[in-house]
Amino acid sequence: MSTLSMCQTQLGGFSFENCKRNAVLETEVTKVGCRMPAARKTGTTIVGVVFKDGLVLGADTRATEGMIVADKNCSKIHYISPNIYCCGAGTAADTEMTTQIISSNLELHSLSTGRLPRVATANRMLKQMLFRYQGHIGAALVLGGMDCNGPHLYSIYPHGSTDKLPYVTMGSGSLAAMAVFEDRYKQDMEEEDAKRLVRDAIAAGIFNDLGSGSNIDLCVITKGRVDYLRPHDMANKKGVRTGNYKYKRGTTGVLTKAVTKLDLEVVEETIQTMDTS
């Protein structure tokens, strides 16, 4: 009764067992008229720009799931190493896992060489992994960092191609952000000018693209210093309600009032903070 696959040891990694079942389910579901659940994407505007002594990475903070905003304040600038950070667009889980794996590998590599990791190493590792999976891992990344050779900025596409440029944009809002860059980018800018340029580019993406929104996060990387500004600018604050539909006390007349005291004792008191942004 056991098939040949039972005799061999199981390998780790991706398992394609359920692909046929998923294909069958998808055809059945579309016949009925429903839709399969969509993966959470990051819609997004992510940008990077090189200035005189370093580079600035910027990202918006909206995560979408189909037509719904899944997370109003997600963090899209991921840590790779103390001198290298990476912004991720595309499927949220893919960017998260890819950057974490590359960060671990780079840490092991740098412990083995005994030196600070270089941006070209991270780029090569990411490129080889994404090409291996032929674009099925939907991660479009903007990788930037400062190493012994100066500041470097790379854009990495889901199929594994990379570009090394002084300014890059990725994501659904990339065209709006690139328009701002093409207009105002200059070589060897000062840090404040670069931060303002990135802030304006992300704002262009936020206000003109449905997939991007909420706040603007910035990450400034210079030699020996990284400023992770989250949030740098709250472009979209939730409004305050001007009208109140509640009835005032005394609108309905009170006929009788009876007070019953309940004897309760406090057994345990815990505080749990919630992210109510």
């Binding site: 394609f16 046929k20 294909a23 896992m97």
Partner: protein, 124 residues
Amino acid sequence: MGQHIGAYGVQDTLRSGFSSVKNELLPSHALELSEKNFQLNQDKMNFSTLRNIQGLHAPLKLQMEYRAARQIQRLPFLQSSHLALDTLKGNDESISFEDILNDPAQSEMVGEPHIMVEYKLGLM
């Protein structure tokens, strides 16, 4: 890729769809075949490059060491650490999806011991 034999010994329609010749021959995902042979292809490529650069002795020596290290393991149905093999291949300094997803040590199904040992010894 064989059909999944479900309960009662019949074809498991829910998990692997209707049984047809096309279903059995074609891979279920574009990456299935390339992932199954990825490690083999990488090794082949590396050995042939090594042979071109350093001569035949280099891959021969390495493959002899791999063969020796591969023999240091428990019986097939038990989990072995493959420590020597991993160190030789350089896998002890990298993490990839093979280490995170579907870890064989955490698998919920255990192989049939007798059949697995017979298969390994070539008696099947």
